[in-house]
């Protein structure tokens, strides 16, 4: 990314450049305005804003709403629920889709186009196209003892499965492209030496895919964390909800105190922001690598 900057050299500031900076700074600030507004509202007590109005000078700013939202609504519990769903879902998606990618990019070239078409097209469908039968299916499948509800419905397992099934389409496509660019002499030589295909996959191909896997892992974590729809339909008890749909409940419960809801919404966004700032490069490269994703 930065190499081109060096070769081009930095042009000395010209009036046009300064104008551009003024424009971009203004636009960026305008862009952040809704978030800054939410932050401002969240830092003021409800009593004060209801008396003086929201657009007013603050008497005091505090993090009370954040602590209240966090403690009163049991957010830790919902964060843990999200972790229970997202961590296995991301790992399983990467594991399963890399196996499919390995198969189609290294072995069976006759089915590769067809298989990848099935996976990629599946990932492009709107979720609502499949939700009605899926919902019925989840109610139908009895798995006593494994989940609290005894069914796939209203369980973390059910959400993990649909996330994996849905997202693996996109990951299989991206990873197969990536694996195809690895020299095949690598695997061929190992195969001649008598290595098993599993070893080929696990010890040779997979380690080489680390950059692509890292990009996908970042992207998947954010997508799965942000999911609202699957959890909304496939989870019924508040107890089992991940954080984003729990926020919906919180707002129903505390709709009279928008400042508290603002604090809750911002708290919900924090983990994704942390992931984004820590892994910006991976996130952006993942997004463009899988630009076909809606």
């Amino acid at each position: 990314m930065s190499t081109t900057v060096v070769t081009q050299g930095r042009t000395p500031p010209r009036p046009a450049r300064i104008l551009l900076h003024v424009f971009l700074a203004g636009a960026a600030l305008a862009w952040l305005a809704p978030l800054l507004w939410a932050l401002y509202a969240a830092m003021r007590p409800y009593g004060e804003t209801s008396e003086k109005g929201y657009v007013s000078w603050p008497d005091k700013l505090s993090l009370d709403n954040f602590t209240n939202a966090f403690t009163q609504s049991d957010m830790t519990h919902y964060f843990v629920n999200t972790l229970i769903i997202a961590v296995p879902a991301v790992l399983l998606t990467l594991f399963l889709s890399s196996m499919v990618a390995f198969y189609v990019s290294r072995f069976d070239f006759r089915v590769n186009i067809f298989l990848l078409l099935v996976f990629t097209a599946g990932n492009l469908l709107p979720q609502q196209v499949i939700i009605t039968p899926l919902y019925r299916l989840y109610l139908l499948i009895d798995i006593p003892g494994i989940t609290m509800s005894g069914k796939l419905y209203d369980s973390a397992l059910g959400l993990v499965l649909i996330h994996v099934a849905f997202q693996s389409g996109f990951c299989a496509f991206v990873l197969s492209n990536y694996m195809r660019s690895l020299p095949h002499e690598l695997t061929e030589a190992a195969l001649v030496d008598g290595a098993s295909v599993w070893r080929l996959y696990w010890q040779i191909v997979l380690p080489l895919c680390r950059p692509a896997m890292a990009a996908l892992a970042t992207l998947l974590s954010i997508w799965i964390y942000n999911d609202f729809f699957w959890a909304l339909v496939l989870i019924s008890t508040g107890e089992n909800m991940p954080i984003t749909s729990a926020l919906n409940n919180l707002s129903g419960q505390y709709f009279t105190d928008p400042n508290l809801v603002a604090a809750g919404a911002l708290l919900t966004a924090i983990p994704t922001l942390i992931v984004y700032f820590a892994l910006q490069r991976q996130f952006v490269s993942g997004l463009t690598l899988g630009a076909n994703k809606g």
Partner: protein
């Protein structure tokens, strides 16, 4: 970053020449797959079968079987209680949907508006921002992050944040323009003439950042010598963009178009959080969902709406996949 370029530009993959294109695998002269196959033990074949088979079964069962089941159920009535209560009704659900449901045509219209609005406003804006940020300026990363931040956040969270802006009595806009006293309210969320546009502004807020990143990646692939040649020829900035840069962004434009259509068809979270898809903001996705989590469980009817959504999606997905995979094949 190398992976990015592989994906967006589809350069010839070095090894691709030795890999037979699918469909010609029966030609005996293709040594690679045959060489591989001969070396495979029975156990290897079993391993490979499982490696490809298990993920495929999961994906097909949960995504494609359910999509097909939606199609089948669309021709029935079912309350979901027992399989014996499923009744074949032919096209009745569709007839009722097209002729009697007062929400259906507005929903279709809103989905179309959603797409048109996204392609006309945030997409060019994203392109414009990308072109500006591509000029190797200082603080580029900071600006980029500001515009991109909404893309990282959940649509549900975005919905809550924008409600604070639109709220009739406590919201930012009404407070600023003095419309926050009873009687003077502008009801951005409740007014059916306004609410769709209010939500679309929030959706565009997010979409522009997304488009910006896609275009930034596309612009990185533009050969710098093209730009140089153009400026040597005396072209100004706009002429260079119009005649040199934009034409080379074709692959990115295709992706942007497909992403935008799919986003428009998938739109759901924001509307659901905002006002549950009440009057003025109906969408096909909302209608389907209301048939599941609402009081009435009309499975056949809900499936009929899903089928409409499926058909519209396939009109986009199929040509896109054909062109993508044709490129893959020739690569």
């Amino acid at each position: 970053m190398t992976t990015t370029e592989t994906r967006t530009d589809h350069p010839a993959i070095p090894e691709a020449s030795t890999v037979p294109p699918p469909g010609s695998a029966h030609v005996p002269a293709q040594k690679v797959p045959h060489g591989h196959k001969r070396l495979l033990t029975r156990r290897d074949r079993l391993t490979l079968g499982l490696m490809a088979g298990l993920p495929t079964i999961l994906h097909v069962a949960l995504v494609w079987v359910t999509a097909l089941a939606s199609i089948a159920l669309a021709f029935t009535t079912w309350d979901g209680i027992g399989f014996d209560r499923i009744q074949w009704v032919g096209l009745q659900n569709f007839k009722e949907l097209f002729e009697q449901n007062p929400q259906f045509w507005p929903a279709v219209q809103h989905n179309v508006i959603w797409f048109v609005a996204l392609i006309l406003v945030p997409t060019p804006l994203g392109l414009f921002l990308a072109v500006q940020l591509d000029k190797k300026i200082r603080f580029s990363r900071v600006y980029q992050t500001a515009f991109f931040l909404p893309v990282v956040m959940s649509m549900a969270v975005i919905g809550f944040v924008w409600q604070l802006v639109y709220n009739p009595d406590t919201g930012l806009i009404n407070s600023l323009i003095g419309a926050n006293e009873p009687g003077t309210y502008i009801d951005w969320i409740g007014d059916p003439d306004l609410n769709l546009w209010a939500i679309l502004i929030a959706a565009s807020w997010r979409h522009a950042g997304y488009m910006m990143i896609l275009y930034l990646a596309g612009l990185k692939g533009v050969d710098p010598s093209l730009r140089e040649a153009s400026s040597l020829d005396g072209a100004n900035e706009w002429q260079t963009f119009k005649n040199v840069i934009f034409p080379t962004l074709r692959p990115t434009n295709t992706v942007v178009l497909v992403v935008t259509i799919i986003e428009a068809l998938r739109a759901f979270d924001l509307v659901y959080v905002f006002n549950g898809g009440a009057e003025g903001t109906e969408l096909l996705s909302i209608l389907v969902t209301n048939n599941i989590i609402g009081e009435s469980s009309r499975i056949g009817y809900g499936s009929a709406i899903a089928v409409v959504l499926l058909l519209i999606s396939l009109v986009v997905i199929i040509p896109y996949l054909i062109s993508t995979f044709r490129k893959e094949r020739s690569a």
